[in-house]
Structure formats: C-alpha cells, structure tokens
Assembly symmetry: C2
Homo-oligomer: 221 residues x 2
C-alpha cells in the first residue's frame, strides 16, 4: 500500500480517506486482533505517518466508532414487516451476533464504548421497534425487550470471542458436577462450538419466553 517514501507536504493525490481508515482498521482488527490495530499499525498499513490520520479522524475512539458502524451495517432487520415478529426477531438476533462474531476481536472494543449520538445504529433500532409495535407489543415494553435481547446477544458474542478453551474445569478437581456437565456437553457437541450451542439454547429459550408472554398479553387484553 505504501510508495516507499513520500516527501513532506501535501501530496498531489490524497492518500487517506476517513472511510479508507475505517475499512483498514476493521481488516486489521479481524486479521491481527484488537491489539493489532493501533494508530501506528493503521498508519503503517496505509503507508503514512501516524499524525496524518488525525486529519481525517479525531482519534482512536473515533476509529472504533467507525468500525462499529461498519459492522452494524450487516445486521439484518429485513424480517420486520415481512415475517411474524418472532421469526423477525430470530433473524435479527442471529445476524446481529454473526456480524460481530465474524470479527471476534471487535466485540470487546465495541461493546465497551457506548453508541455515539448520530449513528446509523438508530435506524436499526427503529426497524425493530416498529416491527414489535405493529405486532401488538405494548409501547412501554418494546425497548426493554430489545435491550434484553441485545444484552444476551452481546454477551454471547463476547463469549465467542473469548472462548479458546476457556472455562474448562481443572483435572482431578473438587468440582465433580462441573466436570460431569463439561464431559457430557463435549460428548453431545458435534462439530458445533460450545459458544454456538449456548447461544442457540439461550435464544430459543428467550424466544419461547417471549411467545408465552405475548400470549398472556393477548389474553389479558
């Protein structure tokens, strides 16, 4: 990407773009992990001095925010309006997690930093809210529902990112039940990962709980 050496002063054709910086950062994070996307790393990858980045972004936090935007764009809200609310939620949840799981190291970075005001993420929330309101969920409950599901999704994504044989009981331990459950899960797990199994189980559980609550809601009214 770099042209050997560049002489001081503004170049005839611009080298950087805000978007180019974001794209490169996302790629670096995916390839080398969160630690491999420092401002220096990004600038080196782009054949540029670190200070040059600051002509296009306000700092490292800004970069992280931009990356989050990129990742969030792949969340699928197309189900709302075209499918039953429960199916739309399932689609949304799965794509949400996948969007982050596709770039594991991202999650830790992104989950920590809160959303900035004017992000396209608001559009996603709007689609989800609209679907649920149209389906008959009470206005006051919609956001709690969405946030609860989101909490689960982000937690699961975080788990998937962290998981490299974490959470394994020590051998010859004082934790027999833990060991037993662990062994049984290993045996029943095909080629699926433990994190995937937990996510599928938890999502099914939440959706079942939501359906029950929805049914109770209709009856009460």
């Amino acid at each position: 990407m770099q042209t050997g050496k560049r002489r001081v002063g503004r170049p005839t054709t611009n080298v950087l773009t805000r978007d180019l910086i974001m794209q490169t950062s996302l790629r670096l994070i995916t390839e080398r992990g969160a630690a491999g996307a420092s401002m220096r790393d990004i600038s080196r990858e782009l054949g540029v001095q670190p200070s040059a980045l600051y002509n296009h972004v306000s700092g490292h936090e800004d970069v992280i925010g931009g990356v989050r935007e990129l990742v969030s764009e792949r969340i699928d809200v197309s189900g709302f309006g075209t499918e039953p609310w429960i199916a739309a939620l399932e689609r949304w949840a799965k794509s949400y997690r996948l969007a982050f799981a596709a770039h594991p190291p991202t999650i830790a970075l992104l989950a920590v930093q809160p959303l900035t005001e004017q992000s396209r993420v608001g559009t996603m929330y709007d689609a989800v809210c609209r679907g649920l309101i149209d389906a008959g969920w009470p206005d006051a409950r919609v956001l709690s529902l969405v946030v609860a599901l989101e909490n689960f999704i982000l937690g699961a994504a975080l788990d998937r990112a962290a998981t490299s044989e974490v959470l394994r009981p020590g051998v010859s331990d004082s934790t027999p039940s833990f060991q037993r459950a662990y062994a049984a899960r290993e045996a029943s797990l095909g080629e699926a990962s433990a994190a995937d199994a937990a996510f599928d189980f938890g999502l099914a559980t939440m959706l079942a709980g939501l359906e029950a609550e929805y049914a109770a809601l209709s009856q009460g009214a």
Copy 2:
C-alpha cells in the same frame, strides 16, 4: 498510604501484599474507573515504585484476574440445594449481576479477559451445575444453560456500566418508532433505571422459557 520517602533496599516491614494490591486495585477501579487503575496509579496509591508491584504480581493482567476473583466471591450460590432450581437460578443471576454492577467499570475489563485456569470461579460453576443436575436437567444441557444465562447477565452488566443516557434517539429524527418506544418506556419507568428494567424483563423471560423447556423435558421422558 505512603511514608514520604523510602530508602533503597528491602524495608524492615514489608509494604506490599498480593492481596493488598488486589484490594487497592478494586477500590481504584470503583472510584476512578478502569483507566484510573494503571500500574502506576496502583503503585502511587500504595506509596511504592511501579516495579515493586512485580514482586507480587506477574503483571497487569494478573491484577485484573485477581480483581475478578474478588468480585466473583460475592456471587450467591446458596440457593442451589436449598431452593427449587428456578428460584436458585434467579438468586444466582441477580447476585451475579449485582456483584459486577457494584463496580461498574470493572465489567468492561473483566468480561474481556477469559478466566484463568485455577480460579475460585470454578467452584461457583460447580455449585450451579450440581443444583441443575440434581433437579433433573440432562447433563449435556446444563452448561449451555449456564453459559446462556451468563451471557445475558454479563451483557446486562455491561449495559448498565455503559448506560448514561446512551441509546437515546436524536430529536426530530427519521426514527419515529424508536422515539415512540423510548417515550413510552420513560413514562412507565418509575425511579428504576432502564438497564434494570431490561434486566428484569430479560431474566423473567429466560426463566419462563426454561420452566417451559423443563416441563417439556419431564413429559418427554
């Protein structure tokens, strides 16, 4: 905490302890946030040079792990064995979240770093697994259940840590449904926080889903 100046060489009475370092770190994190607990900060607080810390801990990661242990000790697993499994789970989940929510900035740090092998956290898992196995849950499902709930809990704790009027729709926006849901939630929320509402809603939903699954399990067998 510091005695002005200390001369070179081993002091007559030891200044540091591994445990003292962990306690101090937790306090600093709670008081000043995650960024206020660097090795320098910790050493300054203890009236010591940063390098002195390395006689007792292997590095910053080690400190984080120790803090996690401290926080984890407050998780309540006493319900398993004395209460119905669903009540025990609820107690466990609530205390789990509270343990972290009491030190908001901790979560971001802790959730990121995976568990180290020989932690007392294994004991907690064992208690939970035992309770569920005794209640009749199939061995192979127990860990997925626990991890799924844990994902939700950690996600919720993270949300609570981040939340300071995050996730507010912009005014005069193109997100009417989002705004509507937001306003309705605000109105229905008493003095409870939005994060609490989402957690309570989600936990109730998951527990309801689990009860349904458990019932189906008994019938199938």
